[in-house]
């Protein structure tokens, strides 16, 4: 058993860490979030130059054939630096779904990998989707024309995407279809998420879909795989955020004085910090273990659910403790603490909430 990153992965982490430490400070990030675009073209290009935009795609699709541990190695740092650029959205989810389309979509995929286009996966619905068979968006045949009807929520980078890949029920199957966001019947309302990412609600009112744009007519399995990979990446982001919170909170407790002594000297604070470290250690261990499973193709849906649930509940407890120990200053927008909490909350809520996954685990057998 070996749960360590390779020397190459450590080098990649080192370079990415340096890039983000210099070019993605908390202040620089704030300016990006306040700006009009979903992301900084500068940083996106730099990630591209490091090969990260090509990393997760298979070599036959023009990618670098990166593994699960490659993705986790970098995603942990994206979380640590609160990166808002749509890596999970456009590369892992949108790109992963687009790549199912084969040669026909190759030019667009090349543009995604080159960093000149974004794509989005439109999957979540209503208050959050867990079980894909409950999707309400449908692809139906009306007088010989395929039409897409429904409403998708929390579409990451939805307003910036050149193409939307939409999950929909088609009879008793699940299909993934490519939709032009400018097509008739598509309405997009975009917003900034609590964690600084951009997302959108997208409505499809009888949108005509060409048969060639059905990327996958029986997509249940590939979709589950794409979501599993994205879950791994997002949980790695959450664990990166947890590490940052643990560090900054213990440092703060060592310097902040009340009643004439550093608050970390009070046993209630010390024990809360100890619980944060225990929670982080558990989340970190489960992330690396699940990554090693995924690396060999042995991660079952249940393993992904276990990780998602733990990253959410342990991350939330760390984030809430971090705010509490920082006191009033922890409540301010000025400090990164709350931004880390919000990154964790966003991860916890999307792709099936903690409670959804906990009940799934409990009802599904060992």
């Amino acid at each position: 058993m070996d749960f360590t990153f390779t020397a190459e992965q450590e080098m990649l982490r080192d370079s990415l860490g340096k890039l983000l430490a210099q070019g993605y400070t908390f202040e620089q990030r704030k300016a990006i979030v306040r700006g009009d675009h979903a992301h900084s073209a500068l940083i996106w290009n730099q990630l591209g130059e490091m090969g990260l935009l090509a990393l997760p795609f298979a070599e036959r699709n023009g990618g670098l054939g990166g593994s699960a541990s490659d993705l986790v190695a970098i995603s942990e740092l994206l979380g640590r630096h609160l990166v808002v650029e749509p890596y999970a959205g456009s590369i892992v989810l949108g790109g992963g779904a687009l790549a199912l389309g084969g040669d026909a979509v190759r030019p667009l995929l090349d543009a995604v990998i080159a960093g000149t286009a974004l794509v989005a996966l439109a999957h979540e619905e209503r208050h959050g989707i867990g079980t894909p068979s409950l999707l309400q968006t449908t692809l139906h045949d009306t007088a010989g024309t395929l039409q897409l009807t429904g409403e998708k929520r929390l579409v990451l980078a939805g307003a910036e995407a050149k193409a939307l890949i939409v999950s929909a029920r088609a009879g008793d199957r699940l299909a993934l279809v490519k939709v032009d966001p400018t097509a008739s019947g598509v309405t997009i309302a975009d917003y900034t998420m609590i964690d600084g990412r951009r997302a959108a609600t997208v409505r499809f009112a009888d949108v005509a879909v060409a048969p060639a744009d059905v990327l996958c007519a029986d997509a249940a399995e590939p979709l589950q795989q794409i979501i599993a990979t994205a879950t791994l990446a997002l949980c790695a982001e959450a664990v990166g955020a947890m590490a940052a919170l643990l560090e900054m909170t213990s440092a703060y407790a060592g310097t902040r004085k009340q009643f004439g002594t550093p608050i970390g000297a009070f046993q209630v604070i010390a024990h809360r910090l100890a619980d944060m470290k225990i929670a982080y250690t558990k989340a970190h261990a489960l992330l690396l273990y699940t990554t090693a499973l995924a690396e060999t193709g042995a991660a079952a849906a249940r393993d992904i659910a276990l990780l998602k649930a733990q990253a959410g509940r342990l991350g939330r407890s760390i984030g809430e403790s971090a705010v509490q120990i920082h006191g009033g200053i922890g409540m301010t927008d000025e400090l990164p603490v709350g931004h880390y909490l919000k990154r964790i909350l966003a991860v916890e809520t999307m792709l099936g909430s903690t409670e959804y996954h906990l009940r799934l685990i409990g009802s599904s057998g060992q």
Binding site: D2, T4, I278, T281, L286, L288
Partner: protein, 401 residues
């Protein structure tokens, strides 16, 4: 990263499984089913220890030169998984995990030759004489004294929470040999060849579970040879700390927890929910069971990272984190067991719980053990350094600016 088990390891798993499926006697299997503590029913588990020793498998974690198996960490984990699959009683930890490894590190050649074979073979059971009525979490406050007299020490005082002292034939203990300087500086570590020296009296203590697992031991001018000391006089505190360190090689507790979860799940599928249907179909129970399983999964990942020597394992707070996580998880599992048993957890069933009593339990095995296990498990967050002390130690390893 690499997690795959090789075909050789799968062959090893079959070899282990075959032995564990056939070697234990019915009494040993009964003891496994009726284990409600870290300490399994004494006579049966010592008999099992001897059988495992005959196969060469009594001490998976010991180095080969002392009679250990020389197994890789993967092999040790597989052994633990198969062991728990069979519901076998865990070997008592005091000799194999505590005093044995300590002697390997700090004992004299004479002490090693004299004591290690008996520990390995399961001939000796060592009770631990650490705590005193006035020295629990603050162990260094201990007062039980040993005064040099010729080649001997004369011991006077009291020890408490000496587990199974009434079944033991040997004892390791901390005594005060000096009252000068800091309280940690006047402590010595002694090995007692017998627990029936003139002047020694052992009184069992009935626990919450109704079982006399713990004892008090009184010393009234008990004369023991000074050759029984490990390390230098007044240096027993560092000996005791070295003993604690032996946990750091890593544990394999999670397979036992997974086995408990399987038992819970099986029992819940047949247990009626007060809301109708089965407990396993109850959404609230599903959610809580899911959370418990997620916690066990995280702990299993933690154990695997530690035994595979991931850089994380070098963190000095690993033994304390391991203790806190495993003890609190044990308690949560025991709570869910009592929840599944419901009112069937309430009858006192001491006779049915006694190995060899031939008294049938009122209901299932889970219903028989759930409450004694829950009650006994209250001790897990108290013994071996309370979890409050462990959290102090963990907090001390955090960087402060």
């Amino acid at each position: 990263m690499d997690i795959a088990f090789s075909p050789e390891l799968e062959a090893f798993r079959r070899e282990v499984a075959e032995f564990l499926d056939t070697a234990p006697t019915p009494e040993i299997r009964e003891a496994g089913r009726k284990t409600t503590s870290v300490f399994a029913p004494f006579e049966a588990v010592m008999a099992w220890h001897k059988l495992l020793h005959a196969r060469g498998w009594a001490a998976p974690a010991w180095p080969k030169q002392y009679g250990g198996t020389g197994w890789s960490v993967e092999q040790r984990y597989i052994f633990a998984e198969e062991y728990w699959r069979c519901d076998l009683p865990p070997l008592l930890p005091n000799g194999l995990q505590m005093v044995g490894p300590l002697l390997m590190e700090l004992g004299s050649e004479e002490q090693k030759a004299k004591y290690l074979p008996g520990i390995l073979a399961g001939e000796d059971y060592w009770t631990q004489g650490y705590s005193e009525p006035g020295a629990g979490s603050d162990l260094a406050a201990l007062q039980c004294s040993a005064v040099a007299d010729g080649d001997d020490y004369i011991i006077n005082g009291q020890k408490i929470w000496t587990t199974l002292a009434h079944k033991a034939n040997r004892m390791f203990m901390l005594v005060r040999t000096s009252t000068d300087g800091k309280k940690q500086q006047g402590i010595s570590f002694l090995l007692l060849d017998r627990v029936d020296y003139p002047g020694m009296e052992i009184r069992p203590i009935i626990g919450l579970d109704g079982i006399p697992e713990q004892c008090e031991v009184f010393f009234d001018n008990v004369r023991v040879p000074q050759s029984a000391r490990v390390g230098a006089e007044n240096d027993g505190w560092s000996v005791a700390k070295a003993l604690l360190k032996h946990e750091r090689g890593g544990s394999a507790n999670s397979p036992a927890m997974y086995r408990r979860l399987e038992t819970i799940r099986a029992a819940a599928s047949g247990a009626p929910s007060p809301h109708g249907g089965t407990l396993l179909d109850d959404p609230v129970f599903q959610r809580d069971l899911g959370e418990l399983e997620a916690e066990v999964a995280a702990y299993a990942a933690f154990e695997k990272l530690v035994i595979s020597r991931h850089p994380m394992a070098a963190d000095p707070s690993i033994p304390s984190m391991n203790k806190v996580i495993s003890s609190e998880l044990t308690q949560r599992i025991s709570v869910v067991m009592t929840r599944v048993a419901g009112v069937e957890a309430l009858p006192l069933q001491h006779e049915a719980l006694t190995v060899g009593s031939n008294v049938a339990p009122l209901g299932s095995d889970l219903e028989l053990v759930a409450m004694p296990y829950y009650l006994n498990s209250r001790a897990t967050t108290i013994y071996a350094g309370t979890n409050e002390v462990q959290r102090d130690l963990i907090a001390r390893t955090l960087p402060t600016a």
